[in-house]
Symmetry: D2
Subunit: 142 residues, 4 copies
Amino acid sequence: MTEAFVAPHPPYLLTVFLEDTDATGFVYHSNYLKYCERARTELLYHKGVSHAKLIESHRAMFVVYSIVCQFLAPARLEDQLLIYTDIESIQGARINLKQSIVKDGQLLVKADIALACVDQNSQPPKPIRVPKFIISALNSKT
Amino acid sequence: MTEAFVAPHPPYLLTVFLEDTDATGFVYHSNYLKYCERARTELLYHKGVSHAKLIESHRAMFVVYSIVCQFLAPARLEDQLLIYTDIESIQGARINLKQSIVKDGQLLVKADIALACVDQNSQPPKPIRVPKFIISALNSKT
Amino acid sequence: MTEAFVAPHPPYLLTVFLEDTDATGFVYHSNYLKYCERARTELLYHKGVSHAKLIESHRAMFVVYSIVCQFLAPARLEDQLLIYTDIESIQGARINLKQSIVKDGQLLVKADIALACVDQNSQPPKPIRVPKFIISALNSKT
Amino acid sequence: MTEAFVAPHPPYLLTVFLEDTDATGFVYHSNYLKYCERARTELLYHKGVSHAKLIESHRAMFVVYSIVCQFLAPARLEDQLLIYTDIESIQGARINLKQSIVKDGQLLVKADIALACVDQNSQPPKPIRVPKFIISALNSKT
């Protein structure tokens, strides 16, 4: 069953450090995906869902299943970036997110990211339904 | 104008080191994109095209414009991976690649990656046509 | 000439994300050095010194010259860490720092880090005196 | 008991990729420590010691205990680097290594690295004696 919704969440703020950049002078492309992961992790924390809890209580974890990502403009050293995360839908084992990286109102990167909830103990990892407490947490307005 | 072709290239081989993995025990998702970048860079070197030369002779560089990526199965510490790179097409400023990460014959990750050739000195970076010597190099069979 | 002093600065706070960890379940060792660099960069920003300004106005940049580092206890996913930075001395081209990474009052990592101020345009980079405005900024109490 | 010896091993070869560099145009300082870890891991593999085996057979793993590192000259994009690893001594739970990163005969980075063998299951990780099969492997000439 699908529970589609778009909820505006407060963006995640970060500063670009030297470690994030490469010799082109811009942020190395795959680091934007780290930024997205930080932002959605913080969103989950904010809603009371932690990786550690998820593993302990449900032996479950989220893995990235697919990414569709466009790099529209680059970020540089010392830039302040906002990362927006919107939960598009939760379907079975999957959570679909839209994430945007914005600098001074300009969209730099947009990413559609599908996470899969998997059983931590199965080899290879098997998809399992997103636990109900996570769906509730994600649907909460706080 | 489009110059579409599919050329089989020798794959790039790498070993998964501790730095590549995360606390799930698998390779951290964005690191697969680093692997892809290593593989296509080596392919270009192999064909005589280097970043350094490109910047010096044409003040041009390649940036990643878009990524469509599926993570089908995970890699682990000490895995030996092959990364295959096929050049799908070169159109104006853009090079479209298909890359695959394979372990023991199993497809782990597949990625469609679009690179844009940009003028290094323009701010923001402006797309410029892929220089002819690169098209020739990429079309060469060696 | 040496201007030795120890000034207590507010620590830099960060959360350990998945990207920081490795398959041992702990933070990958070299990532603690990234944390230290974030902390000292923020300290410089806080005192009005930015990389970008330094490069523009003085064609200078800081590079890490040496590190002496002990890893006493590990950090894990979701840990909240404090990074303390104390400026030990500024001598000619060099700034000597003591940095500590602390979790819940426990010292995890301590690092002695020497930065060298170098001329951005010389090849290889040549050491130059730390600009006076930086010494003043670092000595300021705010 | 100490078993001190210096054995010359074949160096580990790598190419600097874009991911390794930062906006200064050089390799980001902490990435040299990743290079060292790749080199000593390959040395262990070469001698028949793998992380995976070590964990399975002895529930042991190596962690970095301390680093003393000097960055003498920088590496750039596309540089070919050699990393030399010499085992200085094995004492109880500790292995002391000297590692050097060399480009075209020039020493770029030298690092004294102490590894600690720890029990994977203890929290926090407790040091344990380096297993004998590892000492034998490291002492072997092949």
